[in-house]
Amino acid sequence: MSHHIIEFRDVRFRYPDGTDALKGVSFRITHGESVGIVGANGAGKSTLLLHMNGYLLPTSGHVTIGEVPLVKETRQEIRRKVGVVFQNPDDQLFMPTVFDDVAFGPLNLGLPPDRVRERVHEALRQVNALALVDKPPHHLSGGQKSAVAIATVIAMEPDILVMDEPAASLDPKSRRSVIGLLNTFTHSKIVASHDLDLILDVCARCLVIRDGAIVADGPSPEILSDAMLLSENNLELPLTLQGRPSVCPVPRP
């Protein structure tokens, strides 16, 4: 199927204050791929993600999602195809109860109530959060909020899933369950994160972005084991590739 393709061609973006956040980004992600986006703070990751569903429009260059070019008029259509999970679940969950929040997207898509109810339950079941359906978001733990935030997006059944730091500030067990969750999805996935182990576990391909441009693009195991490249980008080898002894030797005087 060719319609789950994301293509950026020489995309440039300048913020109103004059900051050049993207300086000619080009890449192509095909159906079913899972791609990690890594880079230093301020390299342009978030700006890049905000282009994928048309929250920002390129100053110049072209973004194509499926066969649809991203312009002002096609944003609604593109938002239907591309689901974005934002970094902070408190920003993502804005409705008074979990049910209302997960139902928000499907209702906006104009689905009939019983279909909406089905989708809400299916999405919450997928993220193991069905028991939380009637809770208000401010009574949830961090891990539960993250899971529900993902459910709010998969309830819209997007073709492409875009996530910004899906496991930031989660405890190791919650983080592990988010990773497990991401690996069950067959969507095209794009994950921006500083958690390189997570990228290694979830994404087959990895893009490195620096100063608004792509500086490396290749298989994750290759990119993420290139210590030189990583350190140039304020990153370091994933912990699983650091080859530390499993027990730290006690230093002797």
Partner: protein
């Protein structure tokens, strides 16, 4: 009152509203209408009327008792906001010095009577409003208001207020805590720093609002917050509104305490 206690009080009020009692199960519309009626009737009494207001305490007492809401908690909240009412009425005894006789042989200035009336009306309306919130989930109140015809824009504002007041207060608490930990013995707790903290919180809120709006657009938001829940207005809800409204009307038209007093006097005589 510190930020922490304010936060825990709002949290407690919120948790109370998730209980399951006869009062909690009433349709939010019924409770909103009854509370509004109550407030309007109470406020409509003339300014020297104190005794006739007393029967109205039955409404908050009953709602609180049946709804299993701790009376002490509500009373404390009423006292906490009472300075507003005190300030409104405190000058009445000074300016209104004509005298009235409230009991044989006991005369006071009319100002004190009207001051007492203000305090009683205040205690009645505030406790009824608090009980409405403590017995009805906030989203329920919002849905009720929407279906009573309040414009969608105001209702979504209220919903967002409810959703984010907890997030905002937690953020403010963290900032204040960080300040306290580095302002050894008072320096740094002055007004100048406080104003800057408010500025920071405001900017953070604006940025957060932008991110939330982004998340809403990403899920197809086009102006109205959709809802699927439709409470059914049952006969019991109608009975509640009718009985409450009937009682308010009765107490408004007939001066109950005086009548009861006269009856007892008549029996004794």
């Amino acid at each position: 009152m510190t930020l922490e206690t304010a936060y825990s009080d709002i949290g407690r009020l919120d948790r109370l509203s998730y209980r399951d009692t006869v009062v909690h199960r009433l349709d939010p519309r019924a409770k909103v209408v009854a509370t509004l009626l109550f407030a309007v009737v109470v406020v409509s009494f003339p300014k020297y009327e104190v005794l006739s207001l007393l029967p109205f305490f039955l409404f908050p007492v009953l709602v609180g008792a049946v709804g299993d809401i701790p009376a002490g908690f509500i009373a404390k909240k009423v006292v906490a906001v009472s300075p507003f009412a005190v300030f409104v009425g405190i000058f009445n005894p000074l300016f209104d010095s004509s005298t009235v006789s409230i009991a044989p042989g006991l005369t006071v200035s009319a100002g004190w009577v009207s001051f007492a009336a203000i305090l009683v009306k205040f205690a009645l309306t505030i406790s009824a409003a608090l009980l409405l919130i403590a017995t009805t989930s906030f989203p329920g109140i919002c849905r009720g208001l929407r279906r009573l015809g309040l414009p969608a824009l105001f209702v979504s504002q209220l919903l967002f207020l409810y959703r984010y007041i907890f997030v905002l207060m937690e953020e403010a608490m963290r900032v204040v805590r960080a300040r306290n930990m580095r302002s050894f013995g008072g320096r740094g707790t002055g007004v100048g720093v406080f104003v800057r903290i408010l500025g920071t919180l405001f900017l953070r809120t604006v940025e957060r609002a932008e991110r939330i709006y982004g998340a809403m657009l990403a899920r197809g938001f086009r102006g109205e917050v959709p809802s699927m829940r439709h409470e059914v207005f049952r006969p019991s809800d109608a009975v509640f509104v009718l009985v409450a409204g009937g009682y308010f009307a009765l107490c408004r038209i007939v001066p109950v305490p005086q009548t009861v007093g006269r009856l007892i006097g008549g029996l004794a005589g």
